[in-house]
Symmetry: C2
Subunit: 232 residues, 2 copies
Amino acid sequence: MMSTFYPNEERQLIAVDCVILGYHHQELKLLLIKRQMEPGIGMWSLMGGFPRREESLDDAANRVLFQLTGLDGVYMEQLYAYGEVNRDPGERVVSVAYYALINIGDDDQNLTGLHDACWCPLSQLPELVFDHRIMVDKALARLRRKARIQPIGFELLPEKFSLPQLQGLYEAIYQKELDKRNFRKKILSMDLLDKLEEKDKTSSKKGAFLYRFNQEKYNELLAKGFYFSVDV
Amino acid sequence: MMSTFYPNEERQLIAVDCVILGYHHQELKLLLIKRQMEPGIGMWSLMGGFPRREESLDDAANRVLFQLTGLDGVYMEQLYAYGEVNRDPGERVVSVAYYALINIGDDDQNLTGLHDACWCPLSQLPELVFDHRIMVDKALARLRRKARIQPIGFELLPEKFSLPQLQGLYEAIYQKELDKRNFRKKILSMDLLDKLEEKDKTSSKKGAFLYRFNQEKYNELLAKGFYFSVDV
DNA sequence: CCAAAAGTGTTCAGCTTACACCCATGA
DNA sequence: TCATGGGTGTAAGCTGAACACTTTTGG
């Protein structure tokens, strides 16, 4: 043992686990892997890892996310630290859970090669290892709380999206049908979206205009005391 | 080293730190101690400790709170896990912060004997060791978010309290004067308070009627889809 | 030409906000 | 008797919620 200021304290295992959420085909999906080590080998699991001694928790979570998806700079936030003694039957492990919001894109077969990973619809989740289901439920609760009051929904969509797409996302998050007119009125009244010339014609013959979230406008409005809000 | 499922991972120090908040004399206060070990000995600090291997994070936080205050069963909630590598200059320590809401009572000299502890008004916080100030700010942000939508303010008051006292508490939390008539109307309209016969005459000659929060009514209303809400 | 999705305004109810005076009592 | 804090009601404005028809265009 090196010299230390805390010579009498036990060192313990710390892990991070990532709840990686995406949106595709009108529903929210969760990125799961088959666990590759004991205990619980072969069970469906969140992607996780152990922070190194010279790595912050945030960095470790980002590394884990990158290892699985190859993605960097995506929206990620710490969720909660899980510290029940027997949550991992192998050894006492404190796990700090994070959640990430990802734009899956048109091909939800991405990212599923390396680790036996798959995007699983939230409505059809299998049993998960340890307390991972609790982490997922907490991530969903957080997403539902925050998506009303902060513009984080856009993280789940491509850069350019139509208003019907955005509405479909909110309907998936809140499992509730929304009124088209009220939704458009509310979103557009915040003046945070730039309307583009292009239309998305993948879901109708008429085509729906594409918009882009304007981060600069949002920052300006925030500074003026503005609060994002969507009624659901 | 015992046999383990995770033979290659480093064990690290895990701590818990408690942001203990109280309300007295029309202001919010924070319970601080003088740190008794290096590094940072003698600096103002949150009360903290190390979870034992057979102790959950929640249990450890409650133990730490009890050691300092002798109180048990008070409102406490996990805040956030702090995992920057150098947050503690002595060694890499991941700290899971909790916050507790306490009814200080009439004697704010309580609890201050054993550990060189004191209730410090939030408006006059000294410099705190490590990242403890960040923890305090996060606790306040959490309190401000939750006090509007959940009846947690009552945790900071005695069991019996007057409406002017309750209003004073909300004014301290949000640093904003509230309209007496609107506040009373809103609070009483939720029908969560039982009006008592007694009056509190400590702050006026006329005296203000005392009320008691009715947890059973709140649970019933919750089950019916009711949401607590105070306008601030 | 028609099916299918995009786009558009108005009305009503309920809630939030602003606001001023009387009451009770101990000193 | 008077200073101090406790207690009460109403009107105006705003926001959320409900609701139906026209437009476009590929097949």
